[in-house]
Symmetry: C2
Subunit: 392 residues, 2 copies
């Protein structure tokens, strides 16, 4: 049998491979200067806590920690999430990764051809999910949401939600101001659509003041997505959705057929980790680790990058975003950089319009400070060479 | 805001709640005689192995066991699955539960209105998933597949796959003969559709000879779904798909946006459990536990059930299927049984045609032998009463 394509559903035509995951297939991350992925630092994983908690969970819950469990998540984990974030338990749905949160929101709320608004650029994994359901994704640069909404509505299209990462956005590293959050909420209310607020980095803030979540401004129409990936460890694949029970109900029913329930042992480990105060202790340590790495990257950029290159100054999170002179093509440049041993993600992959080929996302959480310094210096040297060739 | 339904996608109209999970919400499973769920026996969970392996995995793999991992599954787990089942590693995709395997096959291969053939009755969680994508599900009783295929094709519909649980089927407990497997393969080749072979119970055989998998008869067009839920523990939410690389490729890309990768720590635990020989030791013990429970249930049925009631004699798995006299309505009877403290699942929930209201699924894996005896005796007494009332 050779023609397997005939078996595919129509959705498959809109699937696209993560270019980040394709990079990981080509190279061994530990052998190059990798600023490509969004991997947390291995230093932040509480290995000895996990070893100890594995035994604690087995002693405390026995077989229950390995049996099937509730589709909403274990009562214990929902309870500690509810307590930590000050929301009723009935508004907490545990997900098998916050990526699943994005995916299930798209599945449950969006028909093919319906519109999702996002910032421009935005998270690649969200774009993968949105497109896989054949949603009509409109990326909006700056604050131009209302103009875009009116254009979309005038074309007779239906807007289902805005997808936003308000804190230390992936890939830009930027944070929405309170005013921008309020404006987004006002638009959602005026034009009657939902907001999917993706908050994986919110608790990884290095400086500045914590701003209200969009959920807190519009709890009736916001689905707030949380993640254990950056505050515990990504290998557990655990996240949560906080939303009105009416919005969670179809998600709950959908999740029954998606995977029945989130991983149980992992949920008990996460609940114990959070409830025992270990999460806050580990988070304080992680913030210091990441802040230092960000500072090293900012310094190295300042020291090494040629004129005409600019970058964002994130107050938290794992990424910053670099803009090169107009005409520089980071996609063409990519093989040269990889051959020289340094990886980034081309900025155009985060956009809905294919532009931004003079931008790149740089991650500062994964490598050691020393390797960040070396990696940025190498990248800067290659960029300078490229700029000289272009002029020559 | 009151009208949340307007935000839903068209798929949501076809979602339906698992009646089994609704039962679990109503009653505390440990306080009634529960023959309703498909829960493995807590006695079979290797708690001390897991405690030890948690430390082994942390020592051996460190932070790697908690970082993001490959979408296909960890190389270590894919390798041991490949070795155990004698298939190339390139044909193994790890899934976040075998329920996800069912769901992703539907997502990737079936458009709304396209046909999936199943046995009649069949697994409820599969029906939930199929219907959630608005597939046209045709349940076929006995061996009538070819007649149904011709009928469906004559109506201009497209058949995408047969879904089959060949070993100790859920809910019937029945096993397809080699001839039936060969016939299914011949039909799939003749009419050019796929086969999704769901095999969660295959290694829980108590008697009789192991038959070839459907996959082994048609590796070019079968997606074989495996599960750790009955051979390790369901709380890990781990399964796998074995299939041609061409069929796995769209599943792999889809899984990137579904949840990026299966849980990593759990995958390392499963790989160590399997590779160290502990899985086989635990499986041998589990088979004895389950065989004894099945025998107790068969004996109790024989001793207690009135004339006119019949049941299947499964050679493995967790379930048997009871047929009551025509006219007996297990749905009407349900509240009476639950009030008296005994739970089952009504047989009609496993069908595509709503018939079978005189059948029920009984699980024998969850309760102790003593409670199985008491539960069956209680159920039989209630059925006798009901039959007397009906006659009176």
């Amino acid at each position: 049998m050779t023609d397997y394509g005939k078996f595919n559903s129509d959705d498959v035509g809109s699937f696209f491979r993560s270019p980040v995951r394709e990079i990981f297939k080509r190279v061994d991350l530990n052998k190059i200067y990798s600023m490509a992925g969004g991997y947390p630092s291995a230093d932040t994983f509480p290995l000895e806590d996990i070893r100890e908690l594995s035994s604690v969970v087995i002693d405390k819950y026995g077989a229950k920690a390995f049996q099937y469990g509730a589709t909403q998540g274990t009562p214990e984990l929902r309870e500690v999430i509810s307590k930590r974030y000050g929301v009723p338990v009935g508004r907490v749905q545990v997900t098998t990764s916050s990526q699943q949160g994005i995916d299930v929101c798209t599945r449950v709320f969006v028909n093919p051809g319906e519109v999702i608004l996002t910032s421009q650029p935005t998270y690649l994994g969200a774009l993968q999910s949105f497109r896989s359901y054949r949603a009509d994704v409109h990326g909006v640069a700056g604050g131009g949401y209302e103009a875009e909404i009116q254009k979309v509505l005038s074309e007779g299209k239906k807007i289902k939600f805005i997808y936003s990462i308000p804190d230390f956005q992936n890939p830009s590293g930027e944070t929405l101001t309170l005013g921008e959050r309020e404006e987004m909420v006002a638009l959602a209310r005026k034009y009657d659509f939902l907001i999917v607020e993706d908050s994986p980095y919110r608790e990884i803030r290095y400086e500045g003041e914590t701003l209200p979540t969009i959920y807190s401004l519009a709890p009736e129409r916001t689905l707030h997505l949380g993640s254990f990936s950056k505050i515990f460890a990504p290998g557990f694949r655990l996240g949560w959705i906080i939303a009105a029970p009416e919005l969670l109900d179809p998600i709950y029913v959908c999740k029954q057929s998606l995977d029945l329930c989130p991983p149980i042992f992992d949920q008990y480990l996460a609940a114990e980790f959070m409830d025992s105060g270990r999460l806050d202790a580990n988070l304080a340590r992680s913030r210091e680790i990441y802040r230092a790495k960000r500072d090293v990257m900012l310094e190295a950029l300042e020291e090494n990058m040629p004129e005409g290159v600019s970058w964002t100054h994130p107050e938290g999170g794992l990424f910053l975003f670099l803009t090169l002179p107009e005409g520089f093509d980071v996609v063409d440049f990519y093989d040269k950089a990889l051959d020289a041993g340094v990886a980034y993600v081309a900025g155009n992959f985060f956009r809905t319009d294919g532009l931004g080929r003079n931008t790149m996302r740089l991650n500062f959480s994964f490598m050691t400070a020393q390797r960040i310094r070396e990696g940025v210096a190498l990248l800067a040297r290659l960029i300078k060479e490229e700029l000289t060739i272009d002029k020559g």
